[in-house]
């Protein structure tokens, strides 16, 4: 794997050095930048490490690597609550909304998540509130068929997404399902009209019950723009968790470190492929290990 080599090289070289000089710090910095951590968190981390090294009087670059791992794990915070609110309420299903910019993997994530819930013996219903993109509802329905759950969608292209979402939740209540998963259209966070529309989808759904979980899907290849994405989506629909997709590629997804730090929203799930079973819980330690290797 190419990037693992490119990335690993820095820290490998680091370990082969016999003392901690400026090159070591450059390599640490480069490793973090290459993982899309961003300049600010990177510089802060390097400064913190330098301070620790000074205080501890370390001379061994291997110790630097261990400290780096430690600091990163602390940043990513294994103690955060990453559970999903998918418990049925007494009188209605749990409601989960999936949001994000275009093409990140929202629809696929809804399909995979439905599979996980079904395996957990839950009754699930999908709502196709992407009424905009060509064949988006059909794509979701295919996922529904694949994992054996029904999909509520509109027959007309360009229907009001809020009313489709409303209908889906209504059907979920009537059919007494456990969870309703609502897929929404991709939208860039700087499109004010589309963000307003998303806010409306949520408000309309909430006439029947509070949305339990709003998952922001973030593509692991995303660079520094990811922070803007998270900020704006958090403002508009108050996201409760992040799904980091496409981690089966070479991208590390380091931008989530800055997102978690500045917004306090935990990464809950990771996407590892295009198949129905390619969804996994986020694990802070393995994320950091992948970031550093």
């Amino acid at each position: 794997v190419r990037s693992n080599n490119a990335l690993g090289k820095g820290l490998l070289a680091l370990l082969s050095r016999d003392r901690i000089d400026e090159d070591v710090w450059d390599e640490v910095e480069e490793t973090l930048l290459l993982a899309d951590l961003g300049t600010e968190p990177t510089l802060e981390l390097v400064d913190a490490l330098r301070e620790r090294v000074k205080v501890a009087g370390s001379r061994n670059p291997a110790e630097v690597k261990d400290m780096l791992r430690e600091e990163l794990v602390k940043l990513v915070d294994p103690s955060m609550d990453r559970s999903l609110a998918t418990q049925r309420h007494a009188d209605r299903p749990a409601i989960v909304m999936v949001v994000g910019v275009n093409g990140v993997g929202k629809t696929t994530t809804v399909g995979k998540l439905a599979r996980v819930l079904v395996a957990d013996d839950k009754d699930v219903l999908l709502g196709a509130a992407d009424t905009f993109r060509a064949a988006a509802a059909e794509q979701l329905a295919t996922w529904g068929a694949r994992v054996g759950v029904p999909t509520v969608k509109s027959d007309v292209d360009g229907a009001d997404p809020a009313s489709v979402a409303f209908e889906a939740v209504k059907a979920g209540i009537e059919q007494e399902v456990d969870v309703v998963l609502i897929d929404t259209a991709g939208r860039l966070q700087n499109k004010v009209g589309l963000m307003d529309e998303l806010g409306k989808v949520k408000r309309v759904v909430e006439k029947q019950g509070t949305v339990d979980e709003v998952l922001l899907v973030l593509d692991a290849t995303t660079g520094q723009n990811g922070l803007n994405q998270a900020r704006v989506f958090a403002e508009v629909v108050n996201i409760s968790g992040i799904v980091l997709t496409k981690l089966d590629g070479t991208a590390k997804g380091g931008i989530v470190v800055a997102i978690q730090r500045s917004l306090g929203v935990p990464v809950k799930l990771i996407g590892l492929g295009e198949g129905a079973d390619d969804l996994a819980p986020f694990d802070a330690e393995s994320f950091v290990d992948a970031l550093l290797n």
Binding site: G38, V101, G144, D219
Partner: protein, 315 residues
């Protein structure tokens, strides 16, 4: 705290003003700010490294000009170098001497290939061509249907002999290489002069799917292979571009989702590591949101300092 490069550089310039010559320390300070700005714009680390050392070299040999202060002169150099890497002039689509002209699209999952297929077909149709779209993504659920809808909207026919994955056909069974080959034959019989081949998204590290893309290329000998890449991509742009370049030896790049607020440093990374020209910009979800790529606009977007550049041009 200065947010934009403009602000930070203006501050740096203040210290430089009045000095006739730049010291190495002056240059280092300016180059540091530029490095930071490029990294914040998602330009890949190795590309930033090569770029800033080129800047430093040119700045050290700088002839002091009358009109600009030395800091501004550095910015001018930066801009020139950026535009240079991004390609001075936009390259047009190469049309085949013997039609049909074959255009193949390739890229990561979700980059915007299928949407671009629709846009390209509409644009070419508007120029008097008679395009045919070919549906070779038989893997992503309803990708074929998505292309058909785009074709309908563009008023362009779609060759889709296999339905791909859809609710009735949940497993991927079709042979995209065969569909691509048949698509070209179909275009010949039906006298289409351009064929646009949409392919499934794939990862740079997926050897099997990359081989499939290479096989499609081999089967249809395209005149253009366009690598479609999302402007929001970060450091992975280099790995991905190199992998696709090796896999399908693309001839041009299309940068998508430029209607967002990402700075788009990937454009520089990809152009710089592959030497391939960025040809088009995709700027929205609509079929008309598509334009030729402008290196100069991209350079000021990456540097986020349009105002400074204007000042310099006026000097």
């Amino acid at each position: 705290m200065f947010n934009s490069l403009s602000d930070r550089l203006t501050a740096t310039f203040k210290n430089l003003r009045g000095k006739g010559r730049l010291t190495e320390a002056d240059i280092d300070a300016t180059v540091r700010e530029i490095r930071r700005a490029l990294l914040d714009a998602d330009v890949a680390v190795p590309v930033v490294r090569a770029f800033t050392s080129a800047i430093k070299e040119r700045a050290l040999g700088l002839e002091v000009s009358q009109a600009l202060n030395p800091g501004q002169q550095i910015v001018k150099i930066v801009n020139e170098e950026l535009v240079g890497i991004l390609g001075g002039e936009t390259r047009r689509i190469r049309l085949a001497k013997n039609p049909p002209t074959v255009i193949m699209l390739a890229g990561l999952q979700g980059a915007g290939k299928t949407t671009l297929a629709g846009k390209l077909s509409k644009w070419l149709k508007g120029q008097g061509h008679s395009p045919l779209l070919v549906a070779c993504d038989l893997q992503r659920p309803n990708a074929v249907r998505q292309l058909q809808v785009n074709g309908e909207r563009a008023g362009v026919p779609v060759y889709a002999p296999h339905p791909g994955v859809s609710s009735e056909f949940e497993a991927a069974t079709g042979d995209p290489v065969a569909v691509a080959r048949q698509g070209i034959a179909e275009a010949r019989t039906r006298l289409h002069d351009v064929v646009i081949v949409d392919t499934a998204g794939r990862l740079g590290v997926d050897a099997e799917l990359m081989q499939q893309a290479a096989d499609i290329r081999e089967a249809i000998s395209p005149d253009e292979v366009l690598f479609v890449i999302d402007a929001m991509i970060g450091q992975d742009a280099v790995n991905t571009a190199l992998a696709f370049n090796e896999g399908v030896n693309f001839t041009g790049v299309v940068l998508t989702k430029l209607d967002g607020d990402a700075r788009g440093g990937a454009a520089l990374s990809v152009a710089s590591v592959t030497g391939k020209p960025v040809m088009f910009a995709s700027t929205g979800e609509g079929l008309n949101d598509f334009e030729l790529f402008h290196p100069d606009r991209m350079a000021s977007r990456i540097l986020d300092m349009g105002d400074i550049l204007t000042l310099i041009e006026q000097a």
